[in-house]
Amino acid sequence: MSISLIKSSFNIYVSGFGCCKQEIIASVGPVYDISRFGISIASYPEDADVLIIQGFLNRKYIKRLFEIYGAMKNPKWIVAYGRCAIENAFFESDDDLIKTFKEKINFDIYVPGCPPRPEAFIYAMLRLMEKT
């Protein structure tokens, strides 16, 4: 794994609400300092390369998520961060919506944990860089 030579610089967009968001913000802080790898948090989906899906999603927010994903420019990647996002654990029971969600959104990397530690987040981003 190359650490000193940055392969690509990611702008990440964090969507959803849940405990995992705390840990992502903690990784921005001085102790973990994710900007060492050229990763920064974007405020608008138009600026972002990586979409992070975390936390519990209800029907209205999933529809919003499709819009956000559509607004991002190619190439783009999606990270499933935390338990709720990986197994669609907190979806309200609506089969059609889960089906379209699975069809439209292909996760590139999965980060298990509830919530994953900030180190796990940095590790996942490094692995995503390796893949690209």
Binding site: M1, Y32, R83, Y110, G113, C114, A120, Y123
Partner: protein
């Protein structure tokens, strides 16, 4: 003038201060005793057999239903056949450790996990046994 001298000494102190940032992949924060990471199956150190006898207590106690156990019967005792953990569902709550009477399951200190494929999040029996190397707190120096 006094302020300049004061600031000079503050800056001088900052040169010798230990940096707060942990350079993550090279050095790691030593996580604390009792921190909850990936589950692992324990071995009986004399016979090198898996202690778990497949009583399914942990499967019933798991709040997220992430454990799947298949067990058979041999000489009127349950014997473990298969043991799956779906990491995508696991919340590392430690209820399975609390409920186990034989102390056959434990949590390791492994916390950095990320997979490209959702199928590789489903862990088998032998993989869970292999997690033993992560059960020492500074495992990355031994790997």
């Amino acid at each position: 003038m006094l302020r300049v001298i004061k600031n000079f000494f503050i800056n001088l102190g900052n040169i010798f201060r230990k940096p707060k940032t942990v350079l993550y992949p090279k050095e790691k924060i030593l996580i604390h005793e009792g921190s909850r990471g990936l589950p692992r199956l324990k071995l009986n150190l004399d016979t090198l057999d898996i202690i778990c006898n497949g009583c399914k207590d942990c499967e019933r106690a798991c709040p997220q239903q992430c454990i799947t156990i298949r067990s058979g019967y041999e000489d009127n005792e349950t014997v473990l056949d298969e043991f799956y953990i779906n990491l995508g569902l696991c919340s590392f709550c430690g209820n399975c450790v609390e409920v186990c009477k034989n102390k056959a399951i434990d949590l390791s200190y492994r916390y950095q996990l990320a997979e490209y494929d959702i199928e590789s999040l489903k862990i088998e029996k032998m993989d869970l046994v292999k997690q033993a190397e992560y059960s020492i707190r500074d495992f990355w120096t031994k790997l």
